[in-house]
C-alpha cells in the first residue's frame, strides 16, 4: 500500500537474532514489585519467539505509569499524549502495512480519557495489538479513582470509597466490535505469554486486558485471582466456549469478580487496513498505470 518510494535496504539474511538483551532499553522507572515488569518480560519473550525484523517493531503509548513502556523496549517507539495512543497507532498502522504496531497503556488512558477512541479503533478493526495494563487505579498521578476501580475503593478523589459503578472491560470491548478480546494477569506469566502471542497473530484489532497490580496505590487488588495468595485463576475452557459466540462471551464477562481469564472472543473480519487497500486497488485498476503526476494533471484539467 505504501505509495512512497521506500529506500528500503535489501532484506538482511544476517539479521541479528532478537534476544531479550537486544530488546532491553532503559531500566524501567516503575516501583519495585509493580506488575508492569512482568508484562514487559512477557512481551520480550513473545518477541523472542516471533522473531520479527527488529526495525519493524513499533511500540506506542499514551501517558501513565504503564504508558512508559516504549522507553523500556529497544524498538521504534513513540510516547504520545494521555488517551490518544490508539488514534496515533491507527495512523501508523494504516500508513505502514510493513510494520507491527503494539500499543500499551493503563485503565485511565484506555477506558477514561481515551474511551471513545477504543470504541472506534475496535469497530474499524485496525490492525494492531493493544495491551491495557489494568491496575484499577491512576498510578502516575498517585491514587485517584479509575473507571475500573471497584465500588468502595478509597482513593484521593473518593476518600470515603468510590460510589461510581466501574465499567466491565470485556463487555465494553465486546460491544465495541473488537475482533480479538482476551483477559490475562501479570502474575500468570505463562498464560500472559500465550494470550499475547495469540493476540499478536490475530489479523485485526486485538485487545488484551492484563490485570497488573499497582503495589504502591492498590496493593493486593488482585489477590482473589492470584493462587499463591489464596485466590482462584479461572481460565476459560475453550472446549466448552465457542470464541466466535459473542453472546456466550457476554455471559462469561458476567461471571463475578475475579471473573474469567483467557480468550473471550475471536472472529475473522476484514481489517480496515485490508478494506482500504481493496478500495485503493480497485481505484488504481481503473487508472491503468497512469503516473501520479498525470492523474493530478488530468484532475486539474477538469477545472478548465
Amino acid at each position: 500500500m505504501s505509495t512512497a518510494t521506500a529506500t528500503e535496504p535489501a532484506s538482511d539474511p544476517a539479521q541479528e537474532k532478537l534476544t531479550k538483551k537486544i530488546l532491553t532499553a532503559d531500566h524501567p522507572t516503575w516501583c519495585p514489585g509493580c506488575g508492569d515488569f512482568a508484562v514487559l518480560a512477557a512481551f520480550y519473550k513473545v518477541l523472542e519467539k516471533l522473531q520479527y525484523p527488529h526495525e519493524k517493531i513499533v511500540c506506542v503509548a499514551g501517558i501513565g505509569c504503564s504508558s512508559r513502556f516504549p522507553y523500556f523496549v529497544n524498538s521504534h517507539g513513540i510516547h504520545f499524549i494521555h488517551g490518544r495512543a490508539l488514534p496515533l497507532a491507527t495512523g501508523v498502522s494504516l500508513s505502514r502495512p510493513d510494520v507491527h504496531v503494539f500499543v500499551f497503556g493503563g485503565d485511565g488512558d484506555g477506558f477514561s480519557i481515551g474511551g471513545n477512541h477504543l470504541n472506534h479503533a475496535a469497530r474499524k478493526n485496525i490492525r494492531l495489538t493493544y495491551v491495557i495494563m489494568d491496575n484499577y487505579v491512576y498510578g502516575l498521578t498517585k491514587k485517584q479513582t479509575s473507571p475500573t476501580s471497584p465500588e468502595g475503593f478509597k482513593s484521593k478523589t473518593d476518600p470515603t470509597g468510590s460510589i461510581d459503578r466501574p465499567i466491565n472491560p470485556m463487555k465494553q470491548l465486546l460491544a465495541s466490535g473488537a475482533t480479538f478480546i482476551a483477559r490475562t494477569h501479570a502474575a500468570q506469566v505463562k498464560h500472559m505469554m500465550e494470550v499475547f502471542e495469540r493476540a499478536i497473530l490475530h489479523d485485526g484489532f486485538s485487545v488484551v486486558e492484563c490485570l497488573s497490580e499497582c503495589v504502591m496505590f492498590y496493593n493486593g487488588s488482585f489477590d482473589d485471582s492470584t493462587p499463591r495468595k489464596g485466590g482462584v485463576y479461572d481460565i476459560i475452557d475453550e472446549s466448552q466456549h465457542d470464541v466466535g459466540d459473542d453472546i456466550a462471551a457476554f455471559k462469561l464477562a458476567d461471571v463475578p469478580t475475579p471473573g474469567k481469564f483467557g480468550v473471550f472472543y475471536e472472529v475473522d473480519r476484514p481489517s480496515k487496513n485490508e478494506l482500504e487497500q481493496r478500495w485503493i486497488d480497485s481505484t488504481q485498476a481503473k487508472l491503468a498505470g497512469k503516473s501520479q503526476k498525470d492523474i493530478l494533471r488530468d484532475r486539474l484539467a477538469m477545472m478548465r
Binding site: 512512497a4 532499553a25 517507539g77 491507527t90 510494520v99 485503493i280 503526476k293 493530478l296 484532475r299
Partner: protein, 590 residues
C-alpha cells in the same frame, strides 16, 4: 456598465451580477457556470455567496464579478441584481449601484422602488420557464432561464457556456439537459426591453490555460502536489469539503484519508502517519482547531512535521459557521500550552491555496514542526479563475526515508534540525529511538535537567528565527513610501490592493504589503514601516480590549512601533473597497 438603446453592444471591462433567491433555486450552480465561463474566456472572476446555515434552505445570494482585467474583489455593489422573489428584491435593492439594473421575476415581485436612477425590468422567469419546458417541470429550470438572459445581455460566449452546462448535466438523465437547454434558450431569446447589450473587452489572459474553482478544492490539489498521501479529520463547515475531496482522491495515489471519531483522534492519527515517515495533513475550522491544541504542542515538542489546515469562520464557539472571520490568528500561533513554536501561513486568494499547500509541506519537512495554514470561509468557497499550475515545476514526489541510520544517530541533536528515523529504519548502532513529548536529551531520553530544557527550548525556537531571516520581505504595492501603509493577510489581499488603486488614482501616497508568513514574520518589516507615517493593519477580527486586531497586536509587540493602528470589523463579510478607502481617508485627515 451604462444602459443603451443602440443596437451595437456597449463595451465594458467589469460587471458585477448579484443573483438573489432561495438556496434551492440553483443560483449557486448558474453562478458557478458563469465563473467557469470566465476562466474559459480569458477573463478574471471572483464570486461571493451566502449559504443559509440550515439545511432546509432559505434566502441566499450568489454574486459574480466578471472582468476583462484583474478582478480583486467580489464587488462592493451590483451592476445588475436578479431578484427571484419580493424578499430578494427588498433585501438586495440597496446593493445595486446608482443607475444600475434590476431584473426581477414579474410573477413574484409586485412592489417596486424607484430611486437612484435604477432601471426595473420585469420578466416572468417562472411563467416563461414553465411555458418553455412544459407544465410538469414546474419552476425547476428558472435559473437556466436567467442564465440565458444574462448570456444574451452580456454577449457571453454562448457556445462555451452551453459546453460547460452540457458537461455538468451530461452525467445525468438526458431529459435534465434537454429541459435545462429549453429554459436557457427561452431566457436567451426573451426580449429585455430597452436594456441594450454589452460586450466585454478582450481578457488579459490570452494564450493561457485558465482554471476556475474554489479555494478548498484547489487546496486539496495543492496538498496532493505537495506529496501528502495520508491524514485524518472530522467534518466541520467550512473545512469539510477538503477532507471529502482527499478521501475520494487519495486512493488514486495509493493513499488513505481517514474520517476520525473526533478532532482529538484526527490530529493524533495524522501525527501517527507523520511519525511513520509520511507528509500528512489534518484540518478543521475554529472549534476543531481548539480540540487539536494539546496534540499540536506535542508535535512542537517531539518535532514532528505535519500540516494543519484551519478554514476560519465566525467565532467564538459555533458562532457564525458560514461567515468569514480572521479571528483564529492568535489561536494558531499561541493556542497551545507551553512554549510550542510552529509555523503559520495564510493564502491570499484561491490560486494561492495551491502554492501555500506546497509551501507548508516544504516548511514542515525542512523545520520538522507543525505548519498551520489559515484559510477562511471566503477563500474556501468562492470561485476564481487563474492560470493552470505547471506541475512539472511544482510536483513533489512523496518519499519515505527508511535508509539505515548511522551509529552516531541522534533524534534530537542540539546543533541541527531534527530528522526522525521512522519505523522500518534499521539503526546501525543498535539503539532504536523513542519519540517523546517529555523534555529530553539529544538521544530522546526523558530529562528534567534545567539546562537541557533551556537548550531544547532554544533549539525549537531558534529554527523559527532562522526561518524568519530567510523569508523575503513582502513587496510593497503602490507607493514604496508615503502617508499610509496598509498591511493585510488572508482574504483581505484583493480588497486592499483595489483600495490602493483607487486611493492612488485620487492622488494619495499610499502603499500596501500582504503577509503570507504570519509566524514567524519575515525579519526586517520595520524597514518598510519606517517609510510611512502611519501603518494600518486591516483584518476581519475584533479590536479587543486594547484596541488592536490580532495581527496588529503581534506587529506592535514585535516591532514596538506606535504608528501601527488597526482597521477591524466582524460583520461576517469580507472588506468592501469603500470601507478601506474611507478608513484610509480618515487616517490621512487625522
Amino acid at each position: 456598465m451604462s444602459t443603451s438603446n443602440s443596437s451595437s453592444p456597449t463595451s465594458l471591462r467589469n460587471a458585477v451580477i448579484r443573483l438573489a433567491g432561495n438556496s434551492q433555486d440553483g443560483i449557486q450552480s448558474i453562478g458557478g457556470f458563469l465563473a467557469r465561463l470566465a476562466g474559459r474566456t480569458q477573463k478574471d472572476v471572483m464570486t461571493y455567496m451566502t449559504i443559509p446555515s440550515t439545511i432546509s434552505g432559505g434566502p441566499s445570494i450568489f454574486q459574480v464579478h466578471l472582468g476583462s482585467g484583474e478582478v480583486l474583489d467580489p464587488g462592493d455593489e451590483a451592476d445588475v441584481l436578479v431578484a427571484f422573489y419580493q424578499h430578494s428584491y427588498d433585501a438586495h435593492f440597496s446593493s445595486i449601484r446608482d443607475g444600475g439594473v434590476c431584473l426581477y421575476d414579474s410573477g413574484e415581485v409586485t412592489e417596486l422602488k424607484t430611486e437612484r436612477g435604477i432601471k426595473n425590468i420585469g420578466i416572468p422567469f417562472t411563467q416563461a420557464t414553465i411555458e418553455a419546458i412544459g407544465g410538469s417541470a414546474r419552476d425547476r429550470g428558472k435559473n437556466m432561464f436567467v442564465m440565458g438572459t444574462i448570456c444574451a445581455v452580456y454577449q457571453l460566449d454562448k457556445e462555451k457556456l452551453v459546453g460547460i452546462v452540457s458537461r455538468q448535466f451530461g452525467k445525468k438523465d438526458e431529459s435534465v439537459l434537454r429541459n435545462a437547454m429549453l429554459a436557457f434558450d427561452a431566457g436567451y431569446a426573451y426580449p429585455v426591453g430597452d436594456l441594450g447589450t454589452f460586450e466585454f473587452e478582450e481578457g488579459i489572459h490570452k494564450d493561457e490555460h485558465r482554471l476556475s474553482t474554489d479555494g478548498n478544492t484547489l487546496m486539496s490539489m495543492g496538498l496532493i502536489a505537495a506529496g501528502v498521501r495520508y491524514g485524518s479529520a472530522y467534518p466541520i463547515t467550512p473545512w469539510s469539503s477538503i477532507m471529502e475531496t482527499l478521501r475520494s482522491e487519495l486512493p488514486k495515489y495509493g493513499g488513505i484519508y481517514v474520517q476520525a471519531e473526533d478532532e482529538l483522534a484526527a490530529v493524533s492519527m495524522t501525527i501517527g502517519a507523520a511519525f511513520a515517515g509520511h507528509l500528512a495533513v489534518t484540518g478543521s475550522s475554529g472549534p476543531g482547531l481548539s480540540l487539536k491544541m494539546e496534540a499540536l504542542s506535542y508535535a512542537s515538542m517531539a518535532e514532528i512535521p505535519l500540516i494543519v489546515i484551519n478554514v476560519q469562520r465566525g467565532g467564538p464557539s459555533t458562532g457564525l459557521p458560514t461567515s468569514v472571520e480572521q479571528s483564529d490568528l492568535l489561536q494558531a500561533i499561541y493556542g497551545s500550552h507551553g512554549d510550542a513554536p510552529r509555523i503559520v501561513l495564510s493564502p491570499k486568494d484561491v490560486e494561492d491555496c495551491f502554492y501555500i499547500a506546497i509551501e507548508a509541506g516544504r516548511l514542515a519537512r525542512e523545520y520538522s514542526c507543525p505548519v498551520i495554514i489559515l484559510s477562511d470561509q471566503a477563500i474556501s468557497s468562492r470561485i476564481e479563475a487563474f492560470t493552470e499550475p505547471n506541475l512539472d515545476e511544482w510536483w513533489i514526489e512523496p518519499e519515505l526515508d527508511i535508509a539505515p541510520r548511522p551509529e552516531d544517530f541522534k533524534p534530537y541533536p542540539l546543533d541541527q534540525i531534527t530528522r526522525h528515523a521512522p519505523p522500518g529504519t534499521k539503526m546501525l548502532g543498535g539503539k532504536y529511538p523513542t519519540v517523546t513529548g517529555l523534555e529530553h536529551d539529544e538521544w530522546g531520553h526523558p530529562s528534567g535537567n534545567a539546562k537541557m530544557h533551556q537548550q531544547m527550548t532554544d533549539k525549537r525556537r531558534n529554527k523559527l528565527i532562522a526561518l524568519s531571516k530567510k523569508l523575503p520581505l513582502p513587496e510593497v504595492y503602490g507607493d514604496a513610501e508615503g502617508d499610509v501603509l496598509l498591511v493585510g493577510w488572508g482574504c483581505t489581499y484583493g480588497p486592499i490592493k483595489e483600495s490602493i488603486n483607487r486611493l492612488q488614482s485620487e492622488g494619495h501616497k499610499v502603499g500596501a504589503i500582504h503577509l503570507r508568513n504570519l509566524h514567524p514574520l519575515p525579519a526586517g518589516l520595520d524597514t518598510i514601516f519606517a517609510k510611512f507615517k502611519k501603518v494600518l493593519v486591516v483584518e476581519i477580527n475584533d479590536v479587543g480590549v486594547y484596541g488592536y486586531g490580532q495581527l496588529a497586536m503581534i506587529l506592535r509587540a514585535s516591532l514596538a512601533d506606535p504608528k501601527i493602528e488597526s482597521l477591524c470589523k466582524t460583520d461576517g463579510l469580507t472588506f468592501r473597497i469603500r470601507e478601506i478607502v474611507t478608513a484610509v481617508e480618515k487616517t490621512l485627515a487625522s
